[in-house]
Subunit: 224 residues, 2 copies
């Protein structure tokens, strides 16, 4: 049995949970707060970041969400998430990197810092200037997703792929923290409603952090 | 023929050049300054980052250094760079991410900003506090590489892999900018001397940026 060391509002933990859900890989969750820098966790992963996947009794430890997703793509045939030929797979990997780096770095990371970590750990007031900037950039990202969906059925191409999981994972954390204004993004809203209704996504959306509550539409498939 | 849009001191361009060199993939170099944000380049890659690989006449465009390396690992059998079974491949991908994210973010990116971009573009003086911090962290990274080499023949395991290329690419940029103190890191020095002598690495080490000169040991295999 795999044990997934994860944090509920870590978008990379969420991406891996969606991947394991789509692939049907049984696993149990172990909650790990990245800022606690617990010694046993640092011994396992010197980077100190979630997610980490450990196979109890077998000694296999998988670290880094990209490496974990590639591992299960290679070892589990069901539900290919990096589908197609080499060029199609390169396009999936390009867009996964886009959402993992750009959407995370420009939008999700500052929202997590201002609306979550400051509240739970340092008890500082959020910096409204940083939050305003992140929400403005979030809108540009939603525009880009609208654009992708104008040209293809799913974000990475004609079929569901890891791109959809990566994007939905990031957006769901920003949405939990009240950082997304969905108005004017019909294509993205329709796509996200479909993602939300997938069995792999339902357990994530039903979880709640202590202290921080999401907006009312957060887990509703029909969200307006 | 592939055209590689790259910047001489971009460590991710260097990683891809080492990969193409090891695999024996013919390509020509097109110099692209990321900070110029040239319209035609942004049309090709909305992220605005090097490297980008375009196949003239065929319309294939590969973006993101991870996606590019995976593409050539899948399509060119020669010189496997993500070798072994699924768990070994996950370890290679973990460490590539470590050097691409941690070594880059904590050491190489601040050195490039302070010692290169400020000199070439904004003409500000470097922030010595930031440089000192980056050089201190560089030393911790060299310690970690020493530790890896105490336990394995190459950085990713028993054979040469993409980990060695990724780490050497990052270190070579920090070294060009005079940011590494190699003393006391015998294991890493010996490994890097072997990397420097590879035919895939020689062309990179012979190039010089205008205005900025590397230290005397930079391209010497026997560097003390």
């Amino acid at each position: 049995m795999w044990q997934l060391y994860q944090f509920p509002l870590c978008p990379f933990s969420r991406k891996v949970r969606l991947m394991l859900g789509e692939k049907g890989v049984p696993h149990e969750l172990v909650r790990e707060s990245p800022w606690a820098r617990r010694d046993e966790f640092l011994d396992m992963n010197p980077a100190g970041q979630t997610p980490v996947l450990a196979q109890v009794g077998k000694g296999t430890v998988l670290i880094d969400s990209v490496a974990i997703c590639e591992y299960f793509e290679e070892t589990v045939d069901r539900a290919p998430m990096i589908p197609g030929g080499a060029a199609a797979r390169a396009e999936v990997r390009r867009l996964v990197a886009w959402f993992d780096e750009k959407l995370y770095g420009e939008v999700v990371a500052p929202m997590m810092e201002e609306r979550m970590r400051k509240r739970l750990v340092s008890r500082d007031a959020p910096d409204t200037r940083i939050l305003r900037e992140a929400m403005k950039t979030a809108n540009a990202h939603l525009d880009y997703i609208d654009y992708l969906l104008d040209h293809r059925r799913w974000l990475g191409g004609p079929v569901l792929s890891l791109v959809d999981l990566a994007a939905a994972a990031q957006l769901s954390v920003a949405d939990y923290l009240g950082g997304l204004d969905w108005r004017g993004h019909k294509q993205t809203v329709d796509w996200y409603a479909v993602m939300k209704s997938r069995p792999s996504f339902r357990p994530l959306l039903s979880e709640r952090m202590e202290v921080i509550a999401p907006p009312a539409h957060y887990d509703k498939v029909d969200f307006f």
